[in-house]
């Protein structure tokens, strides 16, 4: 039987051994780094802007009950309907019922990681609805039958030749190697589906308490179409997405774009405050918002890691993470990949099963430096390691550290141990010892020197 950790180790080993794929991912990220730096330079003070963004999220999250209640009152006052879901199953049932009540046949979706988190597509397909992902990257991943590789760039690992073959197979189009032509194929294919769909499902990037609006960020225009053409609009959002007011949004929107994709502003940032109003010529007749907990309140209850709920899902931490760049997004086996995924998945799905992700880090801190809302990501990985060890102490680790502690506090014993180790090393290399043999699988151990450091030191200073 394989568990999450075994699968992770296997997938990560395979992916990190694939040199050409790693080069491909690094090349794809190259343009992002360049654009991000250009845009960051346009800020009069990026670091202080990060402080402000962090404070905006801190303020909302640490007053979450009141902020949410204010938001819900405003939202419903604008004519929308709020549904609360304690977990994934409850959220799926609410959405399925809304779709059934609407007597819908076809459902169109815009990109929303929270729907991935609750495995909505499976549930909808099982219930007999046709569901189309309209974001180009998600559309490609849906055709591939594969989870998103990166929660902002879902198919960044797929080469154009593969996409061309995929479209030929599923859509019957002529092969092409032009990204432009491939995009136009998807555009033509999806257009009529928006017009025909009865229900549109979107996510939400921010909920604004002051006005009761939901804010959706996107580049392609598919979310705009999804929230304009079908007669019912259902949005799904985690409870932590709420912010106090539009002033906060005026900081968060540009920073999300710059940190996430190296843009000054994402192409469409849209605020919805209700269904079609009297005097408006189009828009959905019904507007529903499903607010999801799904263990977010457990993370909230941990004051040490509460700031992980500040995450605006920009993906900057993935783009700079040496682990992500080498093992890729699929190996994680999680909805949210990279450093932020490694931090929050143990909270969302259980520490015991998912703690191994906390070890998948070099603790270099690049993620923490990249985070626009200053989440202390790499320290949280350490916190998770500590928590996991406290919850179920590893006997080998404990004995090893106790033994090491015993030896290192006794200089003579340490010197003797070192000598033994130096002489037996050639033999030790060949015995499958825990940790050491895994380490040596891909690394060479240099031969041990004849003298210890302390012996060399003595000689060079007093010889």
């Amino acid at each position: 039987m394989s568990n999450a950790k075994d699968i992770f180790l296997k997938e990560a080993t395979t992916a990190s051994a694939d040199g050409p794929q790693r080069i491909f991912i690094n090349k794809a990220l190259g343009g992002y780094y360049a654009n991000r730096d250009i845009q960051k330079a346009r800020y009069r003070d990026w670091e202080k802007a990060r402080d402000a963004a962090s404070l905006a999220k801190w303020t909302a999250v640490n007053d979450l009950a009141n902020t949410l209640e204010t938001f819900v009152k405003k939202f419903e006052g604008n004519g929308g309907k709020v549904h609360w879901a304690r977990d994934a199953a409850e959220a799926r049932n609410i959405i399925l019922k809304l779709i059934a009540d609407a007597k819908a046949k076809a459902v169109v979706k815009s990109k929303c990681m929270t729907t991935e988190e609750i495995h909505l597509n499976d549930a909808l397909e099982k219930a007999g609805y046709s569901v189309v992902e309209s974001d180009l990257g998600e559309f490609i991943q849906q055709l591939r039958g594969e989870a998103p590789y990166h929660f902002v760039f879902p198919c960044m690992h797929v080469k154009r030749e593969e996409i061309s073959a995929l479209f030929t197979k599923h859509l019957g189009t002529a092969p092409t190697n032009s990204p432009e032509e491939l995009t136009m194929i998807a555009r033509r294919h999806l257009r009529q589906l928006y017009v025909d769909a009865d229900v549109g499902i979107t996510g939400a990037n921010f909920l604004i308490a002051e006005t009761g609006q939901i804010s959706i960020t996107e580049n392609e225009g598919n979310a705009r179409l999804t929230a304009a053409l079908p007669r019912v609009h259902i949005a799904l959002s985690g409870i932590e997405k709420v912010v106090k007011n539009l002033d906060d949004l005026s900081v968060l929107l540009p920073m999300l774009a710059t940190a996430g994709a190296g843009q000054p502003m994402t192409c469409y940032n849209t605020l919805y405050s209700g269904p079609q109003q009297p005097g408006e010529c189009d828009g959905p007749k019904e507007f529903h918002l499903v607010l999801l907990d799904n263990a977010r309140t457990q993370l909230l209850a941990d004051p040490e890691q509460r700031d992980a709920l500040h995450c605006i899902r920009c993906g900057a931490c993935l783009n700079v993470c040496p682990i992500f760049k080498n093992i890729g997004g699929l190996a994680y086996g999680t909805t949210y990949q990279g450093p932020i995924g490694s931090v929050i998945t143990p909270h969302l799905r259980g520490l015991e099963q998912w703690n191994h992700l906390s070890g998948a880090s070099s603790l270099c801190g690049a993620c923490t430096d990249a985070c626009p809302v200053r989440i202390d990501l790499h320290h949280h990985l350490l916190h998770n390691r500590r928590n996991a060890n406290q919850a179920s102490p590893n006997l080998f680790d404990r004995l090893f550290h106790r033994g090491f502690n015993f030896v290192i506090s006794r200089p003579r014993l340490f010197a003797f141990g070192g000598r033994v180790f130096r002489f037996t090393l050639p033999v030790l290399k060949k015995i499958p010892l825990p940790y050491l043999s895994a380490w040596l699988k891909t690394r060479d151990l240099p031969p041990a020197p004849a003298q210890s450091f302390r012996e060399q030191w003595k000689e060079s200073n007093h010889g």
Binding site: A28, L29, R44, D45, K48, A49, D51, A52, L55, W58, N62, D63, A65, E69, N78, W84, S134, D135, L136, G137, V158, P179, L182, R187, R191, V195, Q213, E220, G221, N222, L225, A227, A228, L229, I239, L246, D247, L249, S250, V251, L253, P254, Q263, P264, T266, C267, N269, Y272, S273, Q276, Q277, E280, C281, D282, G283, T297, Q298, L300, P303, D307
Partner: protein, 226 residues
């Protein structure tokens, strides 16, 4: 089964009984009180009108949007007619607005004014949508459209080309100012949709290579009067 709303709010209140430390920042200018005023640190929007116009035009160019500056409404109408001819438009959708209607009605092709209700299939067949807007933001090159100012939700997103006709006094420096104006203008009721459009629709989903016109308009024109 307990009410989900009450249960979740209860969990939140319980969780927040333990306070989390307020973030410590190296910069000292804020921290004590809740003041997120980040305006001085975000990208500049321009102090004077001419600085704002210059920034707007610079940002629109970088976004691959087309800005056409014209002195008056008559010239705006001509500019629209010229785009229509160059692009060989067959059918154009627009909404009733003092700046938009005269320009659209003068076009030498089929015109359709979206009315009280909108035929989405018909709109899908249009080459272009012509709208007004709420404001333009020089800081970012964004155009704010709304369901009220821009003929509903679909007109500015479904046709292949979007043309915005606006005046220079609609240009504001930054997002914060823009939000303030919107809240003041629509104090009684907000339009059900407010959308910042920053350049033509785009995607980088295939090998992170930029392609314009993913699902929304492939081309964006701003005809700016004044």
């Amino acid at each position: 089964m307990a009410n989900a709303r009450e249960e979740i709010l209860g969990r939140i209140r319980e969780a927040l009984k333990v306070t989390a430390p307020k973030p410590h920042f190296k910069s000292e200018s804020h921290g004590a009180t809740h003041s997120i005023n980040a305006k001085p640190w975000l990208p500049d929007g321009g102090e004077t009108e001419s600085a704002r116009l210059e920034l707007l035009s610079e940002n629109l160019a970088k976004l691959k949007a087309n800005l056409i500056r014209v002195p008056n409404a008559a010239a705006a109408n001509q500019a629209l007619a010229q785009i229509s001819q160059t692009k060989n438009w067959k059918k154009v959708a627009y909404h009733s607005h003092p700046l938009v209607s005269p320009a659209a009605e003068a076009l030498p092709c089929e015109k359709w004014e979206v009315g009280a209700s909108l035929d989405k299939q018909k709109l899908e067949g249009c080459d272009a949508g012509v709208t007004s807007c709420e404001a333009l933001v020089s800081q970012l090159g964004s155009i704010l459209v709304s369901s009220e100012s821009s003929g509903g939700r679909s007109l500015s997103i479904l046709p292949h080309v979007h043309v915005v006709i606006a005046t220079t006094d609609q240009v504001v420096a930054d997002l914060e100012t823009c939000f303030k104006q919107v809240l003041e203008k629509h104090r009684s009721k907000l339009p059900s949709m407010l959308s910042f459009i920053t350049g033509p629709s785009r995607t980088g989903d295939i090998e992170r290579i930029l392609v314009l016109g993913a699902h929304g308009p492939k081309e964006l024109y701003v005809i700016l009067i004044g």
